[in-house]
C-alpha cells in the first residue's frame, strides 16, 4: 500500500504528509496508520502521532523543533497555530 506520510525518526511525535489529505483520511506510514485527520492538511505539513500536552516538545528529526502551545491530539494538524519555536 502506498505510504502517504513519513515519520522521519522513531522518537518523533509528528509525521509529515507526502501528499495533500482530506478531512477524515488516515495517512499511512510505512508501518502504521495515523488517526483520522480532524481537518484537511496539505503536503509537507505535520500531523500529531501521539498526544502532545501544552508546553511539551514537538519532536521531528529526533529533535525538539518547538513546543506545543495547547494540548494536541493524534491526527491534529501541527503548525504555527499550536507550535512555537524555542529561542536560539
Amino acid at each position: 500500500m502506498q505510504i502517504t506520510a513519513v515519520q522521519i525518526h522513531p522518537d518523533d511525535n509528528v509525521a509529515s504528509l507526502l501528499r495533500d489529505h482530506a478531512k477524515g483520511e488516515c495517512p499511512r506510514l510505512s508501518d502504521a496508520t495515523i488517526a483520522p485527520l480532524e481537518q484537511a492538511i496539505l503536503m509537507g505539513h505535520k500531523v500529531a502521532l501521539s498526544k502532545i500536552a501544552n508546553g511539551e516538545p514537538v519532536v521531528k528529526y529526533g529533535a525538539a523543533i518547538g513546543r506545543a502551545t495547547c494540548n494536541i491530539t493524534p491526527g491534529q494538524h501541527v503548525h504555527l497555530h499550536n507550535l512555537k519555536g524555542m529561542s536560539s
Binding site: 513519513v6 499511512r28 503536503m43 509537507g44 505539513h45 505535520k46 528529526y61 523543533i65 518547538g66 536560539s88
Partner: protein, 388 residues
C-alpha cells in the same frame, strides 16, 4: 541488508586510497590562470585547481590559501600533479609536497621559462601526456570502506529535501559510519537553531566547546554585517510548505549527516582525522563548502538538491540526489540518484538505501557521475581577508 565493506580504489604510498587517479594542474596564483586554461584545453582529462589570487595575501587568509593547495595536491584522488607557478619558489613549494607523497610530480614557472607562457604550455603538456599514460597503467585494488570520507552537501533545497532527500542521505551517512567510515557536513549557518541538540550529540565536552566557539564566531560575522539570520527565518514560503520553526528548517538541512554522534568539529579545510561524523565550519556557498570538505580529505561528495544544481567538485566525484519527482524528470542528465519514490511514498528510505549504497560503491569503483560527464566541476578557495 549488509553494507558493502570494500571498493576498488587506488591505494597511496601514504594516506587514504583514492577513488580516482587524476592528474591535477595546480595554479596557485592568478598570473598563471590563463596559461593553465590553455594547458587544460590540451589535457582534457586533467583536473584544474587554480586560484585567481596568491600574492599579497596576509595572515589567516594566506595560511588558508596555502593549506588548501597543499591539501589538494596530495588528495587521495590525485595520482600526479603539475605545478604551474609564477616563480620558482612557489613551484618548488608545491612540487616538493607532491613528490614527498610518492606521487608523480612536475612543475614549471613563468620565471624559469623567461616569462614565456607558450614555452610553459608546451613543456607542461608534454609532461602531462606522459603522466596520463602512467596513471592509466595503475591497477585498482581492494580497499576498505573504513578508508572512505564522504562529504554531504545540500543545495537549491525545497520541501522534498527536508522530508526525503536529506534523511535518505543521512541513512547512507549512518550506514557508512557504522561500517567504520567517515562523513563530513558543513555550512555552519545552516546549523542555526539546532545548536543545543548538536552540542548534546558531541562525543566529548571538548568537541562541544569547539563547535560552540566556531558556530558563534560565524554567527557573529553575520550579526556584525547587520544580518540576524534568525529574523524572518523560516519565511512565508517555508511556512506554506509546512515548515514552522527555525529548528525544524535547520534540522531538515542537517539530517543529511544522519544521526551519529559527532566525533569531531573542524575548521574549514582541516583534515578529517578519523571515522565518524564530523562538522566543518564553512561558508554556505556550495563551491566553497564542498572544496573545504574535499581539502579535508573527502574522496566522494553526495549532493542533495530539490530544484537541481549542476555543480560538482573537480577532485571528488559528486553524486546528485533529488527526491523531487519533477526535478528527476526535468534533469535526468544531472541527477545520479532519483529518490522521488521515497518522497511520493512508493518505498521507504530503508528500501531505497541499498540502491544508494550500491551507487556510492560503483562510483568509488570508477563509475562516472553526472557532474563528471557534464564537466561541471571546479574547486573554489574561500578568501578570509583583503590582500595588500
Amino acid at each position: 541488508m549488509t553494507f558493502p565493506a570494500t571498493f576498488e580504489g587506488f591505494p597511496r604510498a601514504c594516506g587514504r586510497p583514492g577513488i580516482r587517479n587524476q592528474l591535477a594542474l595546480l595554479s596557485p596564483c592568478g598570473l598563471t590562470t590563463p596559461t593553465t586554461r590553455k594547458i587544460a584545453a590540451l589535457l582534457p582529462q586533467a583536473v584544474v585547481i587554480s586560484s585567481p589570487y596568491g600574492r599579497g595575501q596576509l595572515g589567516a587568509d594566506k595560511q588558508f590559501h596555502d593549506q588548501m593547495f597543499t591539501s589538494f595536491c596530495t588528495h587521495p584522488n590525485i595520482g600526479a600533479a603539475i605545478v604551474l607557478a609564477a616563480d620558482s619558489k612557489m613551484r618548488l613549494w608545491l612540487q616538493d609536497n607532491v613528490a614527498a607523497s610518492g606521487r608523480l610530480a612536475a612543475g614549471f614557472s613563468l620565471q624559469e621559462c623567461g616569462e614565456d607562457s607558450e614555452k610553459l604550455v608546451a613543456s607542461a603538456v608534454a609532461v602531462g601526456r606522459e603522466f596520463l599514460i602512467e596513471l592509466a597503467r595503475a591497477k585498482q585494488a581492494c580497499c576498505s570502506v573504513e578508508d572512505l570520507i564522504l562529504a554531504v552537501e545540500c543545495g537549491h533545497s525545497d520541501a522534498t529535501s527536508g522530508l526525503a532527500a536529506n534523511p535518505l542521505a543521512g541513512e547512507l551517512a549512518d550506514s557508512l559510519i557504522a561500517a567504520g567510515g567517515a562523513v563530513v557536513i558543513a555550512e555552519t549557518i545552516e546549523w542555526l537553531g539546532t545548536q543545543d541538540s548538536l552540542y548534546n550529540r558531541c562525543k566529548s565536552p571538548q568537541i562541544a566547546a569547539r563547535l560552540k566557539k566556531l558556530f558563534e564566531a560565524r554567527h557573529q560575522l553575520a550579526l556584525e554585517a547587520g544580518r540576524d539570520l534568525r529574523i524572518g527565518n523560516p519565511g512565508p514560503q517555508n511556512h506554506e510548505g509546512g515548515i514552522t520553526t527555525l529548528q525544524e528548517k535547520s534540522h531538515g538541512a542537517i539530517s543529511k549527516g544522519g544521526t551519529s554522534q559527532i566525533a569531531g568539529v573542524l575548521a574549514a579545510g582541516e583534515t578529517v582525522p578519523g571515522p565518524g561524523l564530523h562538522l566543518m565550519d564553512t561558508p554556505t556557498l556550495s563551491p566553497e563548502s564542498i572544496s573545504s570538505m574535499v581539502a579535508g580529505g573527502a574522496q566522494l561528495v553526495l549532493f542533495t538538491t530539490g530544484q537541481g544544481n549542476p555543480y560538482g567538485s573537480a577532485v571528488a566525484p559528486t553524486l546528485k540526489l533529488t527526491a523531487n519527482p519533477q526535478t528527476a524528470i526535468r534533469l535526468p542528465h544531472q541527477i545520479d540518484f532519483d529518490g522521488s519514490d521515497v518522497f511520493v511514498g512508493a518505498r521507504s528510505r530503508q528500501q531505497a538505501l541499498p540502491d544508494l549504497s550500491q551507487l556510492m560503491i560503483a562510483t568509488c569503483n570508477g563509475m562516472e557521475t553526472a557532474a563528471e560527464r557534464l564537466q561541471e566541476c571546479a574547486e573554489v578557495i574561500s578568501r578570509l581577508g583583503p590582500s595588500i
